[in-house]
């Protein structure tokens, strides 16, 4: 760890000499609000992924507020959210009882040069395709990969931009999803970004150390390619192994999207997710198919969605409360980004 910190500090000092003064930007203020209605075909909450939890209810997502300011080479971002999606459903909760606010991002950044920057604080995770904010996702419901992976990481990271096509990030982090470390700064993570052709970006991510499950290593590929003006394809694949073969998961999700009109885009999410065997206990596999539309008007996005999930081990419930291999839901969401 000492060698890594020394290397990062040395790089920062050498690039300082070549640094140019960066302009000051005004205070940026943005955010979003969202609300939804969901109907589960089994007439009860059934699919165990994040958010969109309430059945047959006009329910709240969150109010998300973001501040950003850059002065010279230094900048900060502060993002805070209120509401079920932004509070108790976005772990950790800042206070007991699920009635507090949640920090989504709280970090400072310093651009030592056009190529090298360091960031420290509490940040949205670099792992995975989907995020907490509904503004950042095409589908309103989330994948199993998102639900079981990290949401945020507190730590310090350094990013070096070799060119517009390649950059590398390395950092030290607390346990996942916690403001304060419970076992010291004990996770190490990295990200390689490559952009082979214009419109195609791929991230290869790795994070190893303390997490809510114990200790483990997650390796993740997140990529998206705007193939034509109308068609975009995204892919997320991840593998998580806990130490001492104590468990883990692996999965893959594909996200094809097609713009069918000026303000209307249709997207499909196909996911396969499997938990790992632990001793004699076999893992279980989920497959899910989600069809979503995004209908935009200015800052408002209206999101109708149908989702069908399957698991042969029958973890779902049917209308009568019996075990079932299938679950389905229909939802309508409205997201306003300002």
């Amino acid at each position: 760890m000492k060698k890594l910190l020394s290397a990062i500090f040395g790089m920062a000092c050498t690039t300082c000499a070549l640094a140019q003064e960066a302009p000051t930007s005004p205070l940026e203020f943005s955010g979003s609000v969202d609300t939804y209605y969901k109907y589960d075909f089994a007439k009860r909450p059934n699919i165990p992924t994040s958010f969109v939890s309430d059945h047959n209810s006009v329910s709240l997502g969150m109010l998300d507020l973001v501040l950003k300011k850059k002065t010279g080479k230094a900048s900060f971002v502060g993002e805070i959210s209120f509401g079920p999606r932004g509070q108790s459903q976005s772990i950790p909760d800042a206070a007991g009882g699920g009635s507090s606010f949640h920090i989504q991002n709280l970090y400072v950044n310093y651009d030592f040069s056009d190529k090298f920057a360091m960031t420290a604080g509490y940040m949205g995770t670099f792992i995975g395709y989907e995020v907490i904010s509904p503004v950042g996702n095409f589908n309103y419901s989330t994948s199993y990969l998102f639900t079981n992976g990290p949401f945020q990481n507190a730590g310090i990271k350094a990013t070096y931009k070799f060119s517009d096509k390649v950059s590398l990030m390395a950092g030290l982090f607390n346990d996942w999803n916690l403001y304060s470390a419970t076992r010291g700064v004990s996770s190490i993570g990295g990200q390689l970004m490559i952009s082979p052709v214009e419109g195609w970006t791929a991230y290869i991510n790795a994070l190893s150390g303390a997490d809510p499950y114990g200790y483990g290593t997650i390796v993740d590929l997140t990529t998206s390619y705007q193939i034509t003006k109308a068609f975009k394809l995204g892919l997320n694949a991840a593998n998580y192994d806990m130490a001492d073969d104590a468990g883990g998961y692996a999965g893959v999700a594909l996200y094809p999207q097609v713009a069918v009109a000026d303000a209307v885009t249709l997207g499909l999410r196909g996911e396969y997710f499997k938990t790992k065997d632990v001793g004699t206990v076999a893992g279980t596999a989920y497959t899910g198919l989600t069809l979503t539309a995004n209908i935009k008007s200015g800052g408002l996005t209206f999101i109708p969605e149908v989702r069908l999930d399957h698991n042969g081990d029958k973890p779902f419930l049917n209308k009568t409360g019996g075990a079932a291999p299938n679950a389905g839901q229909f939802s309508l969401a409205a997201v306003y980004a300002f």
């Binding site: 302009p23 005004p26 205070l27 940026e28 203020f29 943005s30 973001v66 501040l67 950003k68 971002v77 993002e79 989504q104 991002n105 970090y107 940040m123 949205g124 995770t125 670099f126 995020v131 904010s133 503004v135 950042g136 214009e198 419109g199 705007q226 034509t228 003006k229 975009k232 009109a261 000026d262 303000a263 209908i295 935009k296 008007s297 200015g298 800052g299 980004a337 300002f338």
Partner: protein, 191 residues
């Protein structure tokens, strides 16, 4: 009283009729253009030098310049902001072609080939392009996007106006090299 109210009412109506809406004109290709011809007493060579200097000083906004003895062309980028209360954030970027031509006694410049790329907030709270494929500003939006598109056009026009004003100011100013003056120091030993 009624007579004066009516006069005031019709006067305000006539002002509205003459009010100009800021909008781009179309060139012979059917592309939006912000075009201006300016009379000047500066020589052609000086104008070209000053135009080139303006592009160099604003290198964050301009990329890829082409220079001849009477013209400068450059590809530029401007950021479109969305204002909320007293603060704002980037909502997109517009790429454009900046053209300048000079003759003795006058010059012209025009901004055209305007294309828009929307931004979205990423997981870290920063605004980044949502796509690499730009949309020409001449594109007729659907009904759902009409309001937002009108705001973008007005914002881009205002920024083009400001760019034009800054450019004209730069062409009025001759290049002056400022020398760094040595700071005078006082000796407390000799007096």
């Amino acid at each position: 009283m009624m007579k004066y109210s009516l006069i005031l009412f019709f006067a305000s109506l006539s002002f509205c009729a003459f009010a100009q809406q800021k909008q781009f004109t179309l060139d012979e290709r059917g592309k939006y253009v912000y075009y201006e011809v300016v009379d000047t007493k500066t020589s052609k060579d000086s104008l070209v030098l000053r135009a080139e200097n303006f592009i160099k000083l604003n290198k964050k906004s301009f990329v890829k310049s082409t220079l001849t003895d009477s013209s400068v062309t450059s590809d530029g980028k401007m950021i479109v902001d969305k204002t909320i209360l007293v603060a704002s954030h980037p909502s997109g970027e517009v790429n454009y072609a900046f053209n300048f031509e000079a003759r003795n006694g006058k010059y012209r410049y025009w901004i055209t080939d305007l294309e828009y790329i929307p931004y979205n907030r990423d997981r870290y709270g920063n605004y980044v392009p949502t796509t690499n494929i730009a949309t020409p500003l001449e594109k007729t939006p659907g009904k759902l996007s009409a309001g937002a598109w009108k705001d973008i056009l007005e914002s881009v026009y205002t920024k083009s106006e400001k760019l034009g004003e800054n450019f004209k100011k730069a062409l009025l100013t001759s290049q002056v090299k400022t020398q760094v003056k040595k700071t005078e120091s006082i000796s407390t030993r000799k007096w």
